[in-house]
Subunit: 208 residues, 8 copies
């Protein structure tokens, strides 16, 4: 079905043997690129035993095995974070979107408690085709950005925070209740899902 | 900013006087269409006193005051529900999307506990450009549909159910945990938000 | 102890007889002003039977019986809301603060999903001595305002919203996790508590 | 009472000495088979010191000490999982059911986000006498399968997932709200309970 | 598929017209018995306009339209309740099971806080083929009964109680954590689901 | 105030230095017995450096420094548990009650899923003056025992269990909803509190 | 078993016919006093049709049918409340304890936010044999009182409050976490349970 | 904007390199004091490599790099705790407030279960200008203190406790429901936020 799309494997909770088994089969059967998410450095080293083409994005915790040329879209997906602790989740989204063939712009650490930093970059924000807002704690980034633009916004709550952040629940609820139209939400810390959905949207109606 | 978009008013919790005041001002100032959501029949009757052009969609609980021609997209937004009790939320999404200029297809009562009814309509499902899945109780519709198609899916949990459905929380959690890539979620019962987001996505990259 | 402060009675859940009994005693014993919160119109009418000096603030659901001149502070408490549905809670705070002798400024319906409306009023925001931010749904107002000013901000979550707003829990959690320093929080819908606390702060160190 | 049934010991949270003590007594007193659940490799090695007949099922984390012949039922219990991470819980159910004398069929990694894999095995699904559906995350497997068959379905939510899966709560709620008649639910990760219940049902009315 | 099974309609949240429309079609198309659950007296009176054969079980809130002879199983389903307030849910299970062709025994108000009343009926309890335990508040009935018998037990938590019963959550959690093997659980107040599942189990392997 | 009562120190979360400092001061100032709860073996060894009279109850995780003779009550406190994993909490209650001068009887592993084991000991149960019921998982022990006796029952939920036991929440809710009159509840795993309260009750009205 | 104790019937959720049926049987069979809790005025009027001896305590919502002389204990149960809205629950406890033969003292509206009112009555507090603390909102009364006295304290959380009081959950959690030894807790609003338990404790060891 | 205020860095979840990078830039660019919160000893040692002026407050887990003289306010911020385990959070507040130029008074371990210790220090309590109440478990300290004084109280719930304290939720809810006017709340364990807010309030209207 998903012709041209990379093969994806979610490594968390799988043994090294199991992962290498799956990847070996992928390497044999198809010619698509391979994306291994939630991969530790240890997983990367293990995968290197069966292929020379694995690249490790450590912040994103993603391994990419590139076998096909990736042609980038003309229009951008913009990925924003509220704080620096949200960057790993943002990078998971960014690398996913890039491997899926999207041009990606990053705008990190522009949380709403310092709204001027965000407003100083209105040019970048308003030129994006799809926006991913990654934020923990009060998770208000999605609402502010969603109110500024007329393109789809995907909000990703993160488990960053402590106490009444309840491992991302505060941000999740905040984002689900956003008053800004055009915003939808994915699971806590689900950078991959956000990147994948944003790619689908960005490439709809022909910008491949 | 949102040039060409309809004006939107959320009626729930506002008095009849307040609503008529806001609509009167909208009627004077702009020329856009007007969409009043969460409007009871009583609100509709009150609005009729200040305009002859109000149309009431009772299932959707929406009043539309049409002042501009609506040109429909060529590509479809498909709106699906798990059960019949989910239809009001689905209609809120459908009418919103239509007023925003989208061609809308409806496929209701195709819940996953009777998967054959859903599979019997694969043609309709696979020809959609964007899909909205509306479901209460176990909320599994989004996952099944998301796995069948390669277009963006917006999942809307509804408060339909009893006991451990916790007014839509079961469906919400289920949808946030969907294993199908390309799915994002809006608030419980938020048909308007789903319709608006789907419209934004459907019209991206040029299908206006 | 609380010399000069008004007497306060919380009417919710008390019978008309009970309320009139308490107020009668207050009228006899002291000379302070009297503030009756969470008072319905019915309560007001009943109170009118025992005094001619009751004034009813219906939006705020507060009855004031003024017996002493109220001298206003020079510095302002600013009360802001995210939406129009938050106004009753904001008015409870406003009337409370006014009866306690504070100059009060109102800035309503400036939610973060339309950040320009808020930024257009930076002058008012930056000239306040204490700020109360009243918001439901995603409750992000407190964070944005807290980041703009260097005065204490009291955030009041409201039960406005539906679905995953969980009657104010989303806004409450959002506010508790605010990244803006100088923000503290009161109970959901507790306009009285916010007005009282703001007054205490505003009058500290001598601005009586 | 439970004549012919194996003796069962739940090892989690018990010391090696304690476990060996209990098993020694069981070995002396009865002649039934012995099933030790939630047993680590360390427990197995310790048990080997007191008996030569212990077999360790490591995926299932179960030790079986076989002392009586096990006669299998003619009819099958089918055990299905949504993903590969659900397999340990499924194996706990499978080994339990086998030791209790049931013929067991396995069908793993057939989650609803790839419904075609599930539908490709309708023959196996429709020939089962009782079905156990093991799934984490959105936990929709039980509903889809329950709608396809007319035999009892036992749904086992697993703690597999992250973020808003809340350690199995999302799957649990989803399963409790299943629209498919004939489905009942056991505790999160309770493979033993599912296997035991399925066995009781499978052997009812005479298929021993 | 479900040959011989009655047609089922869940009335809650459906309009009288809608219900009568569905039932009319059922009356035309098939010859099966019809079961309408969660039906108020008003629904019953409305249904009487289109058929003379509707019987109303008011405690169970079920309408039965009998068109085929019902042949009862030889073996019993026993339905037990903890208190008298649990009886409506128990009756929903009982009538469902009877219409599905099962012999049903009732044992009500035998909650665990008066264990002697339960133990006084051990004969009835031990002669059942399948047992349904309906209980609110602490929901312990399932565990006690499950420990006494070697047949499948289906536990139904009810929303009976107040305070920390949280509308059935206390009973639900209690039942999910039962230490008695062979117990599984359905949704809060889901008497229908329990009756249907019990029937499937009772008729397995040939007792039709 | 609490003349004759032992000094109590809660060790969890305190450093060895801190604990020894507090105990040294107690040893100097008073002559009462000393009870150190939630004490690890490491704490015990550290305490041994400052006194020769410390006795360690390892199951109960309690250190007792006896300096005064303890005279036991004539009437018993009975301490029961549902399973063997509940014993540490029960022992915390037992040692606390004993040091406070009570005669304590133990009846462990008599959970309600095996009601016969409990009923076999009715003599012991009915001769107690106060009963402490310690149970995790479904926590039904308190209800069954409370229904059998006419003396005060203190129920202690434990964090024993997994999945939907939610670290003792299921047992806590179950116990709070007990239908048996005369039962009250303490915090999850709070054996000390149960032992202390039981002692207070047991010694009321003169049995010292 | 419970010789001399009154018969108790819990009226909430029972029909007038059902209640009168139960009471009629009680009137015939025994000679004990009868206590009907959670009884509305309507229930009382209905009960008056079958007996002339019913007395209605409207604040407590209890009907008492006195058939035997009640001999009061010498020692007191003291019942305290934090606010005036907690009084109905306190009265349920008070009337229950009185009918069970206890001398009862009341001390209402002495919440911890006005600690001086509480401290002004130390004499009454310190002369009680058992204390019941009834409080909603922050529920701190139990801790303060428990720290002042050396007698058993039973804490009753009430559903009084709004917002984050969550219908008594805030008070319940607060009470379960009390640092004062000797305190135990009953269900939210369970005045009956507190009165019953307090009576059992008060009469232990001979003060009948 | 925040002229004269120290630079603040939140260390938790940041790498040593990252922290040193940020601090190096702060050291270059400005002349303000620097406050690094949630800093482990390891972080301190790493920071010592780039500056000789770092002072480590280990209880508070704060590093201060003092570059400007700190002039203390004449009026006090009083910081109180319920227990000794709350001291780290209190010290985070204390050091924060001191570095921000406030005179700070400490009053630790005066929890409400021993109200006499608190009342013995009424002089200190009543002479404070702003009060911070730090407490875990039942979190009642804020209410009692708030009722005694007429100055603003900031309540900080801590995660100290076990079982139904739910990592600070019990204290948080208790504090949000405080009946004492003038109290507001910050996030669980947020000593920094409390210290910062208290400083803002203490210095308002001119006491710099
Ligand atoms: N059914 C709905 N659910 C959530 N948000 C809505 C809904 N209908 C309208 N809105 C939003 O509410 C805004 C208008 O709110 P208001 O100004 O309060 O009438 C619109 O711009 C939409 O963003
Ligand atoms: N709207 C309100 N929300 C919360 N507390 C309130 C409110 N209005 C008044 N109060 C508090 O309630 C107290 C009076 O309570 P009462 O004695 O029950 O009338 C006042 O001193 C305030 O502390
Ligand atoms: N994995 C499991 N999960 C839940 N219950 C179990 C499990 N394994 C065994 N049991 C139950 O635990 C009982 C034995 O418990 P114990 O006496 O503590 O070893 C068995 O009779 C089963 O009912
Ligand atoms: N207000 C109350 N709250 C909780 N339990 C009660 C209450 N009043 C009576 N009960 C209990 O309910 C039992 C009677 O229940 P029932 O047989 O349903 O009328 C009594 O024996 C008490 O244990
Ligand atoms: Mg937008
Ligand atoms: Mg898809
Ligand atoms: Mg600020
Ligand atoms: Mg089925
Ligand atoms: Mg059994
Ligand atoms: Mg009893
Ligand atoms: Mg005490
Ligand atoms: Mg105060």
């Amino acid at each position: 079905l998903r012709n041209g799309y990379p093969e994806v494997i979610f490594c968390q909770g799988k043994s090294l043997e199991h992962i290498n088994g799956i990847i070996s089969k992928m390497l044999e059967l198809g010619e698509n690129n391979i994306l291994a998410t939630r991969a530790s450095k240890e997983v990367y080293e293990s995968v290197c035993k069966i292929t020379d083409h694995a690249i490790y994005y450590d912040l994103a915790r993603i391994i990419v095995i590139k076998r096909k040329e990736i042609i980038k879209t003309k229009k951008n997906i913009l990925i924003m974070t509220g704080g620096t602790a949200d960057i790993p989740v943002a990078e998971e989204a960014a690398v996913t979107a890039e491997v899926l063939g999207n041009s990606v712009e990053r705008l990190y650490d522009v949380g709403v408690a310092g709204i001027h930093r965000l407003l100083a970059r209105l040019d970048v924000i308003c030129s994006a085709n799809v926006i991913i807002c990654v934020a923990g704690m009060e998770g208000a980034l999605g609402s502010v950005v969603g109110g500024l633009v007329d393109v789809p916004v995907i909000a990703v709550p993160t488990s960053v925070g402590y106490g009444a952040s309840f491992n991302g629940v505060a941000a999740l609820l905040s984002m689900l209740n956003s008053c800004a139209s055009g915003t939808s939400v994915v699971n806590i810390d689900n950078g991959f899902g956000a990147g994948y959905t944003a790619s689908m949207i960005n490439k709809l109606n022909g910008d491949d």
